[in-house]
Amino acid sequence: MPLFDRKDKSRYATFSRRTLLAAGGMTGIFAVLAGRLYQLQILDFDQFMTEAEENRINERLLAPARGRILDRFAVELANDRRNYRVLLTAEQATGGISESLDAIGRLIEISDARRKKILREIAQNKPFVPITVVENLNWEAFSRLSLNLPYLPGVQLDVGETRAYPFADELSHIVGYVAAVSEEDRKNGNDPLLSLPDFRVGKRGIEKEFDEEIRGQAGVSRVEVNAYGRVIRELSRDPGTPGQDVYLTIDQDVQKFAAERLGGESAACAVMDVETGDVIALVSSPGFDPNLFNVGISTAEWNALTDNDHKPLLNKVLSGTYPPGSTFKPVTALAALDAGVAVPGYTVFCSGVYTFGNHQFHCWKRGGHGTLDLRGALKHSCDVFFYETARRVGIDKLEQTAHALGLGKVTGIELPGERAGVIPGREWKRKTLHAAWQQGETLIAGIGQGYVLLTPLQLCMLTARIASGRAVSPRLVHSVGAHARPHRAAPRLPFSDDALAAVRSGMDGVTNEPGGTAYAWRINEAGFEMAGKTGTAQVRRITKAERATGVMKNEHLPWRLRDHALFIAYAPVEKPRYACAILVEHGAVAAHPQVQMARDILLYTQKKDPLRIPPAYPVTAAANTTGRG
């Protein structure tokens, strides 16, 4: 043994002890590692498993197919059409994004603004997210692109769905439109679909009123994604519930005819089934193209709509209120009959002017009508007769009668934006104007002027009620999905048959007897005759001086100062089926365009007679709908 052996022995002893200590330390660390593994993998397994799944699985909302809107014969008024789109995926554009856009630009037009927007979107998104370059391509451009697809790296062609309104302007105010979700929509709704970038919600008309039903329920696609959000594969798919179809009572044929007949006038028209209140046509003219709002309306297009003095965005049928003028006289007549004022033999002498207190009230006919009974007063639309009659009836009875006929409140039609109009009374005036009722105001109200304001839809309902004797209310939506909307048979009006018959007789005289205010524009095909009532709503005030020199004829006034022309009618006279109300803003000219329109529309409607044709509603005539005998 060498010299150092003794010293090495002591070193070895120390080394052994220290190694043992180190081994103990290492064992301790290994125990810590094993303990930690036990904690993570055994004790907290559930929590980490959940977190791993949450990491991996991304739930993506699927927009359900939006329900269609159809007319009574299942003609599609709103549907989804194919939207041909061009998408660009940045990471696949091997030649560079600008080069790809240039290549697309050689085949279809891309504006500079659009190009900037695309580049911005690409910069904001991950490189594997496809960005929409152009949408709503026509088939020709689309096929040109697909032919060149091999030379367009990163470009994909895609067929999406977009809302379409095939009848555009004709139905704009009924169907409405869809548009991008606004901040307000998101605040008010908690449907997760609202957060989808391309989602559209109903903004007007049926699209708005029945948005929830038409929208459907969101579907969910569970996809596996990696840490960068790239989809690896789809794990499961719940397509959601497609939106329900909404069936309207509209007959698109009549609607189209009416819309065309109103032409470019600023006008409104409603056609209604007098027994059920089913709305056959509901036109506000001019309309607008709802398709514009879906794809995004340009500023110029928007300005054109808002600057138009014919107010295309206003649904005049139910959001426009007008003094009904003489079309209100049947209400006054009915009040007089019901109150026992207009008893058999009741007459009023018209000298052309009616003096009440120290005021003079003029008849529209200078020189007067002479002695008239109620039937003659309606036929000739004598103002003096109704001044006197209204005075005798009193505002309270007049107001009560108007209310019984459903006026002064909304009809409850299934469209947004309906206005109630005004049926004035003592209480109403005290509340709104804080003044006492003047008796002179009763006279004015008796001829539908003054405070009285009605919507064309209310006028149509009034006509239907007089024609049928039932308290019908307008119905526009028959069924949603396969479910008919509840609709009760209309109760009888609280007026005697004799009173109603007397008013109808007067309205018959208006159109079908020589001397009647609308006799010149009557329907003279046997069996299709209509009964009606003309009306003029004064837009400007006629001064005493003007009256002295002769009232200016409307034809001689600028358009916006002319009176509004109104007409209500039902047909056929003998067994009424259809009621119609027409308003032409500033249309009170001698040719009575509104009467001509009503005549043509009622004749067309009767000849087609949509009520006779079995409707295509998806439900068999439910027990709670009114059957016709």
Partner: protein, 383 residues
């Protein structure tokens, strides 16, 4: 394997005798651990040898050759090479400090075309050799003498500081740990050890002052990972989710969602253990730890059987170096210490660490093969 006592004392072994002396059991354990790594690298590549598993297998094969080759060389030769190797490694560290390639924000590499040298890895082995050689020449009493102690402390501190400046905190920690544990094993008096530990504890606030921002951030996010769940806390959070979601038996080979879907950062290198935990669960993780534990037991046995202090210290130095890798990486991926860039030995993808570890095992094997060699106290080794 101890069938032929004292043969080395009488005459040098022939090459074939040395090959017979190689402990093939240890090599099998090492290979098994490496195979776990291959499997994981194969899995995170989505079931492909490219880009990781294939090259790793090639490297491991090369590493095995280095291991056996190193084992064939007499430990006295290694002793003779100890100081020159340390000198070269130190010079290389100085070189990277001045002109090294900057990778991952740290100067760590010397780029020689196809060959990239990581001097800090070289230093780990060289430091063990040099310290073992120095301590071999000291008695137990000598070690605790201040004058004698100063030399090894400088030997440890100088490269550690250079590595820290790169900045590579993980390797610096390992260098210091390797060096200090050798001093401890050689018998440094507790009179030095206890105050030193106290000083380390007291210096933590000072160390904080000298840390890089990213290092501080790592410490802060470690203390509260949720404070930055998508930023720096992401690593820790996702690693824990991966391991934890493995459960007892794991999701199955190639079924780990965390790694396959890229939720795991540095999944092929420092965080490879998380994939093992995810796919093979508690059972698989513990199995790998047991494998590592057995390798360490082999290392301790080899150290205890060596008849020279140099051999013992080299064997334990290499074994502890291996252990420190496992400890730091394991504690890090399980969220017990802040993130420092230390791979899991044998398992993580990467050439430098693999070579260092395999070369270390080669030295260990050399100690085993030459366990009967006695070296005089004043010896400078062969050469």
């Amino acid at each position: 394997m101890n069938a032929t006592p004292n043969i080395a004392a009488r005459r040098p072994l022939t090459l074939s005798e040395k090959l017979l002396e190689v402990d093939w059991g240890l090599i099998i354990l090492i290979t098994l651990a490496a195979c776990a790594g291959f499997a994981m690298l194969y899995s995170i590549a989505g079931g492909h040898l490219r880009p990781w598993a294939g090259p790793q297998i090639v490297r491991f094969a090369a590493g095995l050759l280095i291991l056996v080759a190193a084992a064939m060389i007499d430990i006295r030769v290694w002793m003779g090479l100890a100081y020159p190797a340390y000198g070269v490694a130190f010079l290389l560290l100085l070189v990277v400090q001045s002109m090294g390639h900057v990778g991952l924000g740290a100067q760590r590499w010397i780029d020689l075309g196809p060959l990239q040298i990581q001097p800090s890895e070289l230093m780990k082995i060289s430091l063990v050799l040099a310290l073992a050689r120095y301590l071999h020449g000291l008695t137990v009493e000598d070690i605790s003498r201040p004058v004698k102690l100063l030399v090894p402390l400088v030997m440890i501190a100088a490269p550690a500081v250079l590595v820290l400046l790169q900045p590579n905190l993980g390797t610096a920690i390992i260098l210091v740990a390797d060096g200090c544990s050798l001093l401890f094993l050689a018998g440094l008096s507790w009179r030095w050890i206890v105050p030193a530990l106290g000083a380390v504890a007291a210096s933590i606030p000072v160390a904080w002052e000298f840390m890089h921002d990213y290092q501080r951030q790592r410490v802060l996010t470690f203390l509260d990972p949720s404070s930055d769940a998508l930023g720096a806390g992401w690593n820790i959070t996702q690693a824990k989710i991966a391991i934890g979601s493995g459960g007892f038996s794991g999701k199955g080979f190639l079924q780990g969602t965390q790694s396959r879907l890229n939720f795991l950062p540095e999944k092929e290198t420092d965080f490879i253990f998380t994939t093992l935990g995810e796919e093979f669960g508690f059972a698989g993780s513990i199995a790998l730890l047991i494998l590592f534990g057995l390798i360490i037991v082999y290392g301790i046995r080899i150290a205890m059987a060596s008849r020279s202090q140099f051999g013992r210290l080299v064997a334990m130095g290499v074994t502890l170096n291996f252990f420190f890798y496992i400890m730091i990486n394991g504690l890090m991926v399980m969220g017990l210490i802040p993130v420092v860039g230390i791979p899991m030995p044998l398992v993580s993808y990467g050439g430098s660490a693999m070579m260092t570890v395999m070369f270390g095992f080669g030295l260990l094997m050399s100690v085993h093969v030459h366990r009967q060699v006695e070296i005089p106290l004043r010896s400078a080794g062969l050469i």
